[in-house]
Structures are given as structure tokens and as C-alpha cells.
Symmetry: C2
């Protein structure tokens, strides 16, 4: 068996069990004629399949009934006319179907939806009809019976934890999805944050293992980097993008996995691949040991318009080197020395070449004018600065209106992680309550892909209609709340 | 077991076997991007389910693909924009679906369609895709292996026979449908003509039996008449219309069935019901023994705008009395005397009160001004006139531009039947060739619900888009061609 088949076999062996629940919406019966509509509320966010029955009233519906059925993660999606959407992303991710039904029947719609609200509009019926037996079969691979409830004296933190675990639960299907409303695609960046939160909540180690193997089976690009995403339905497909920071965070995810499971067999399977990611990255460094862009890769860091992410990427590299060399040391792999020595050199070089003393800030290597929170967060996580110096610089950058600020909950996670690393527990709690608590106060059932408190309509894709309102990378408050017992 | 359950059980016992064929369209592969479309040609009319596969080309289709799939019985339906349709009948009978597909897959569309052409338009795909493995699973309960081919020295008659048997085959599903493009509903008027043609072609006696029992299970109206149509999917439903001529033709259908099968058990089951139809009809007669309209019923006779059908209906009554009294006599039921005596009296009365000597024509009882072919055809079939007198009157009415002319192939059948009754074989052949042959010359794969040679766009529903192009009541040329060995 070649490596790819071996990894795919391991991924399949760890196919998670799915748990199903039947959700009954608030409305039980709906009598309708042409033009009528009803909005059903499941009472919570759910991922799965919708079933309903319709029947004749007095006379037989002697022609097909045409229904427009719309699924919304919030009421904004239900109320907005989808024809006004200007992509942005593909319009077909907006969840709406037009179906024709020949005669009275129970209908289970074949596609999976991600929603709390369902709107049924009768576009045409020849005679009045009655809808009954609405239900939604929700699925997840999170075993909710394993979730320990927490009591927090701060009700907002308790609510944030509930919404965060719900977010993770919804994204846990046959793998860690990023957001169930759109593509069924596994991204490294989401995987890492979902796995972290999962270790403190549903403890489903199989799904993490499965995801790690799914990436291991992917095609490396010319630079040696893993694909940043893969598909598994209807067949395995290795994504055509190789984001440098994601390739590094894969290595971190393996370190996290070992830290929480002690499962050496998986580490042994993936060790060469991890080394390869770091060795490939090393080749991108210039003579100053600073990463410079090359054809065939790009960095993500954050959905932040105009962000120059190179300094942050350098920080991700440091962070990965530190985690990986520690793992190697722990498992008795002597190559750890190489990586830890490299770490020291690159850390020093980073401070030397990327820190502008006159500004008391990290700058971008090629675009020296740009200041960003991102650079500081990752230089802190990478250990280039520490202690009060780091703390002051981080706070200054968060307050500097000229510095690029985090846009996504994904980047906000790393801001929070940096705060905890620096012992800034109070600031971290305040940050979580302000940011994730802001979504809760706006009625979020699950945490959103994108949220900017000052600009609630923000979308990385120009139209908030397409935003995912249940997004894996936003689930980490439960990780912080439970790990640090906030 | 009550009567209804007994009849439904008998209907179910005679559920016909369905025969399936896999039709492969002319085009095998279609590479498409957003906006592209393809038209597949099955090469023949078919009723059934459509299957296709689509797959990625180079990159994975990372968002749902939206297709518009249209099914047309002819190219007019394919080319016409359905949004321009002005009902008429329910718009949902126009065969078009909008479907969203999450990832590459084989798709078998859940609904049944009636078509020769299939147009697929890619409304949206994120990346180019490839369609392959198109096929259409056609169904019929006609066992085509039982169909004897005929050789006719007139190629047009041979072609008409082929198109007619194809028409019947397509309408033979789990019962005798009237036209598979629209409602799945069994009408008495279609049943009678389909059964007649079936006796000379596919000889499927079970399906006739099934249909007779399905009506027998129906709810009689206050006047005692059978429902004119019934539904059987998804459950039995007795139609809310009771057309007087259809109630009579049910009795004729039982007579036809016995004539072709000699199956006395079915006749015994249905005899009381048949007597009831005639006895109920008798109560509608006035003191002159002429039928007059009452609340709760109407007559069909033909889709002919402005037609006053009472005289024709009187003829249907005579026709039924004659057939039914003959059946009773044959099976030794002495009540035949009552019906045959009634026949004589009503026949005489019909000539006395409905025939206008000055016009040398049958007139309508209440609307004396109206002349129609319909009145003459049914008075001939009912035996009110005969011989050269009848022949001359029939020909005169067919040539009289002021007389209402037949509109549907259904009524044209009875015109032809009247001609054969009067020994007008040459005229009948000419009539068949002109009318049904006209459809053949216009490219018909199956015979149409409505056709007026002088007005090819005629529709009983104001828009030919909704016309059924494969309609059971148009299949009887094969009955004539094979019965009379034309």
C-alpha cells in the first residue's frame, strides 16, 4: 500500500459515528393556498434534512404543487430576497429550493441544510392543501452526552460557552467542517481550532485522527506544502491551494493531538510529513532568515483587507518550530536539536529584522509601513518578544487605529491565545466577553464566520447574506473557558 | 367486505406488470460551464425517469451546481420560455425543474416525465463540469412483444398505426392514463377508447379489468352516476365530477370487455352498477323521453366551444341501451327486455322530438338553432337513423360550415365509428388519413390531445404549450385499422 492509500485507509477506519436528533418546529400544521407562506422555527441551529407531509384538503390536488423552500441560519436570510444577492461567493450556497410535487406525500428533501428557520412558500397549488408532520433530522458526530456542563457565576460567559459548544457540535459531521452552510470542505486552519476545543468538550479523538490522515493523503505542491483543504464527498479530492501558515499549523495540530492523547502511532505515521513541512518552509527564508514570498504559495493569517501578513507568517513559523521541537524531544527524536537551534536563530533574526525600535513595533519586512495586530500576536506566540514588553506592545497595537485590526474570530482566537500566554487573564476575559459576547447579545445561536462589532454587516465576500453563521473557527471560547476555568 | 373494498381489492389484484426500457439519447457527453445548455433527443416519445451523471473537470466544483432541466414532448415545448405561459391549466404541468447538486454524483430525478427531448441548462457552476451517462428509464404496461406488426400497402396508414400503438403504449402505465404529461388520472372516456384499441393490439385484459373495478369503487353522486375520473396515487380518490355521457360509456366499456374476453365474473360483479347508471339516466328524461339537464351533472361529448351537447347525449344513451340490452340477453339476464323496449321507445321519441324535417337534421332540444356533427354522429351510433338517410345527413353535417364540427380526436373517433357503422369504409379511411395522417405529417411521435388541421395552434386551454401530445383518446386508428383490416 502506498502512503496515500494507507492514510486514506486510516482516515476511513476513523470515520465517526453520527448522532441524529429529530427536531420538531414550533408550528405543527399549516393550511395553505397559492401564495401562502409559513416560517418554521426549529428553536436552535441544526444541520441535516427536512421532512414534511402535505395532503389534500377537500379536493384532490390535480396538478403538481410548486413550493419554494428556504433555509436560514437567521431571520435575515429568511427575509432577504436571494435574487438581490451580488456574488461574491457562489449564489448556489444560498439555501433555497423550488420543488414540484405530483401528489400528496411525505417529502424528505435530499440535500442537507444548515439552518434554524425554514420558510415554505406555496408558489402554486390547484386546491388548498395542508402541511403537517414537519421535522428536521439533525446530525452531528459530537456525542453531547460527554459534554460536561459548566456553571459560571458570569451568565454571559456561561452563555458564550453554550453557543461555542453548539457551534463546534454543528461543524462536527463526518469530519471537522468549517461551516455547514457552505462547502463541505476540511481546512487546516479550522481543523486546528476545532480539535483544540473538542479536547475540552466532546473529546472525539477519532475525528481528529481522521482529519489528520485526510490531509496526509493530500498532494504536496512543488514547494512541498500540504493542500490547505481537502474534499471527501463523493470522493477524495486534494485541494488546489497551499497556504503556508496552514501547512505549518498542520504540524501544530499533530503536536496538539499528541499532547491530548499521547497516541504515538499517529505521530509516527505523520512525523516525516511534519518535518517536510518545516523543511520546505525553511527553504523560503532569505539570507536574513526571514520568509519572503515565492510563486506557488500565499499566506492567510486573517480575512483582513490589505493585510501584509509576512511578519505574522514568520511568527507562525516560530510558533511551529517551538511546538514541534518540543514534541520531538518528548518522543525521543534527536532531530529536535536541529529544530530548536533553528528556532533560536530565526527568533533572533525576527526581532533583529522585523522589529522597528523607533516605532516600538513589529513592521512588515517588505511593506515596512504597515503595522498590524497580527504581526504582534504571532511574534508573541512565536516567542520573539515576551513579558511586559510584549504585553504593552500588544495592547498598544490593539488600541492603535492605524494598525490593521483582526477581522475574523479565527484571528481573534490567536489574539486571545497570546493574551493567555502573557498571563493577561483579565484582558482575555474582557476580550472574549466583548467580542463573542457581542454576537450573543445580537442573538447568535452559533458563532459567526465574521463579526466586526463596529460594522455588523461586514462580510469578507461583500454581502453578509453569504456569511456562514455557524463557523468552526469561532468555537474556541469554550477552549479558553474550560482550559483556564474562567 | 363492503363493495368499495371488494372492488378496490379486485383492482389491486389486477395491478399490471410494468415493462422498463433504457433509452440512451443521441448525445453521450456534454462539457459545460455556467450558461451552457444541451438538448438531448431520446429518438422517441417516452414516459419515465431521467438519469445522468456529472463530474468535475480539472478542479472540484466547490459550490452547488444549479441546473434547469426541461422535458418536452416536442421541440416547441423545449424552445418556448415557460414563463410566457398564461394559464389555462395549472402552470406546474409544464415539465421543468431547477435543481441544486452539492457535488459530483449520479442523479435520478424523482419525478416521472413524458417527453422525447430533454434540455439541460447550467444556470451556475463554479468550475467547468462534464455530464455523462444520460439515460431515460421508460415504463409501460403494454407488452410490446404481443403486438403483431401489420403490413399495409399504404405507408401512411402503416405509419398511423405505429404512432397510434405508441400512443396507447405510453398511456398504459399502472392504469389507462389519458395523457402522461399531465395528471395521473383515469377518465371513463379515455378508458373506453384505450380498452378498445388494446383489444386489437397489446391484449392486456388485466389493466381493463383493473380500471373497471377502480371506477366501481367510486362514490356515486346524488343522481346515482359514477365519478368521471378517479385517482389512485398516492391513495384512492373518487373524482368530484359526474359527466353523464361518461357514466353511460362506463356501461359500454363493460359490454366491450365481455365481448372481447367472455369473462362473466367481471360482468356479474358490475351488473348492478351498470343497471344503476341506466336507471339513473332514465330519471333525467322528460315526458317526451328526452334528456334534460339537471343540477349535479353535465355532459362532455367534445371540447368544442359553445357546443350544446344534449342531442348527442341522447344518442349516447340510445347507444348504451342497445349495447347493454344485447349484453343482458347474451348472458341470459331477462331484464334485457325492459332495456330493449325502452330503447325502442326512446329511439322513436328521439327522432320525433329532435329531428327537424325542414332542416333534414337533428337539432338541439333546448337550443334548437344549433346544428352539430356531434348530434348526428351519436344519433347514428344510437340507431335513431340508419342507411342512406344517415349517410347523407352525416356527410352534410360534416360539410356544413354552420354546424359545430368535432374538435378532439376523441369526437373524431366517434365520427369514424359512425362511418364504419354505416359501411362508409372509404370515407372512414380518408377521414383517418386526413386527420390522424395530418398529425403524422406534422411530425407527431404520438397522437395529440387536440388537433384542428386548419388551426394547428388550437388548444382547449388557450395555449398549446399545455396540450398533451400523447393522448389516449387519440389512439384509436389502430383499432379501426386492425379491426377492419384497412
Amino acid at each position: 500500500m502506498n502512503n496515500k492509500n494507507y492514510f486514506l485507509t486510516k482516515a476511513q477506519e476513523n470515520f465517526p459515528q453520527l448522532y441524529y436528533r429529530k427536531l420538531i418546529p414550533d408550528i405543527k400544521t399549516f393550511n395553505a393556498d397559492t401564495g401562502d407562506s409559513v416560517i418554521l422555527d426549529l428553536g436552535e441551529h441544526a444541520v441535516g434534512h427536512f421532512t414534511f407531509r402535505f395532503d389534500n384538503q377537500d379536493d384532490f390536488v390535480d396538478a403538481p404543487v410548486r413550493l419554494v423552500i428556504k433555509f436560514g441560519e437567521d431571520m435575515y436570510e429568511i427575509e432577504r430576497d436571494f435574487s438581490t444577492y451580488e456574488p461574491g461567493l457562489s449564489k448556489t450556497w444560498l439555501q433555497e429550493e423550488i420543488i414540484n410535487l405530483d401528489f400528496p406525500q411525505e417529502v424528505t428533501m435530499p440535500r442537507r441544510y444548515s439552518c434554524r428557520y425554514i420558510k415554505i412558500t406555496v408558489d402554486f397549488t390547484p386546491f388548498p392543501i395542508t402541511f403537517t408532520d414537519f421535522y428536521f433530522t439533525a446530525s452531528t458526530s459530537a456525542d453531547t452526552s460527554l459534554l460536561q456542563s459548566i456553571k459560571n457565576e458570569d451568565p454571559l460567559l456561561e452563555k458564550i460557552d453554550t453557543v461555542a459548544t453548539d457551534t463546534l457540535k454543528e461543524c462536527m459531521q463526518t469530519f471537522f467542517e468549517d461551516g455547514p452552510k457552505r462547502d463541505r470542505r476540511l481546512w487546516i486552519g479550522d481543523l486546528r481550532l476545532e480539535a483544540l476545543t473538542n479536547y475540552y468538550t466532546f473529546k472525539n479523538y477519532e475525528i481528529v485522527k481522521r482529519c489528520l490522515y485526510l490531509f496526509a493523503a493530500g498532494d504536496l505542491n512543488d514547494l512541498g506544502f500540504l493542500p490547505s483543504f481537502i474534499y471527501e464527498t463523493p470522493y477524495y479530492f486534494s485541494g488546489h491551494a497551499n497556504i503556508a501558515d496552514y501547512a505549518l499549523l498542520y504540524v501544530v495540530s499533530v503536536c496538539d493531538y499528541y499532547e491530548h492523547t499521547g497516541d504515538i502511532s499517529v505521530v509516527n505515521d505523520l512525523l516525516d510529513l511534519c518535518k517536510g513541512q518545516l523543511d520546505s518552509f525553511e527553504k523560503l527564508l532569505d539570507e536574513n532568515l526571514i520568509v519572503i514570498p515565492q510563486d506557488g504559495w500565499f499566506s492567510f493569517i486573517d480575512w483582513c483587507p490589505g493585510l501584509s501578513g509576512l511578519t505574522a507568517l514568520q511568527g507562525v513559523y516560530l510558533y511551529t518550530l517551538e511546538r514541534f521541537s518540543a514534541l520531538l524531544k518528548k518522543i525521543g527524536d534527536e532531530t529536535y536539536i536541529k529544530y530548536s537551534e533553528l528556532l533560536k536563530k530565526v527568533r533572533t533574526a525576527s526581532k533583529t529584522h522585523l522589529f522597528d525600535k523607533s516605532k516600538n513595533a513589529f513592521i512588515n519586512y517588505l511593506d515596512k509601513g504597515q503595522l498590524s495586530v497580527h504581526s504582534h500576536v504571532w511574534m508573541i506566540l512565536g516567542g520573539a518578544i515576551d513579558g511586559d514588553e510584549a504585553k504593552n506592545i500588544l495592547l498598544a497595537s490593539l488600541e492603535n487605529s492605524e494598525a490593521k485590526q483582526p477581522c475574523t474570530p479565527y484571528m481573534r482566537h490567536y489574539v486571545t491565545e497570546a493574551m493567555f500566554k502573557l498571563g493577561m487573564k483579565d484582558e482575555a476575559i474582557e476580550y472574549i466577553k466583548k467580542f463573542w459576547g457581542g454576537m450573543v447579545e445580537k442573538g447568535a445561536d452559533t458563532f459567526w464566520e465574521a463579526y466586526i462589532p463596529e460594522n455588523p454587516d461586514f462580510s469578507p465576500y461583500d454581502d453578509r447574506l453569504i456569511n456562514s453563521l455557524c463557523h468552526a473557527w469561532s468555537c474556541t471560547p469554550s477552549y479558553f473557558i474550560r482550559k483556564y476555568q474562567l
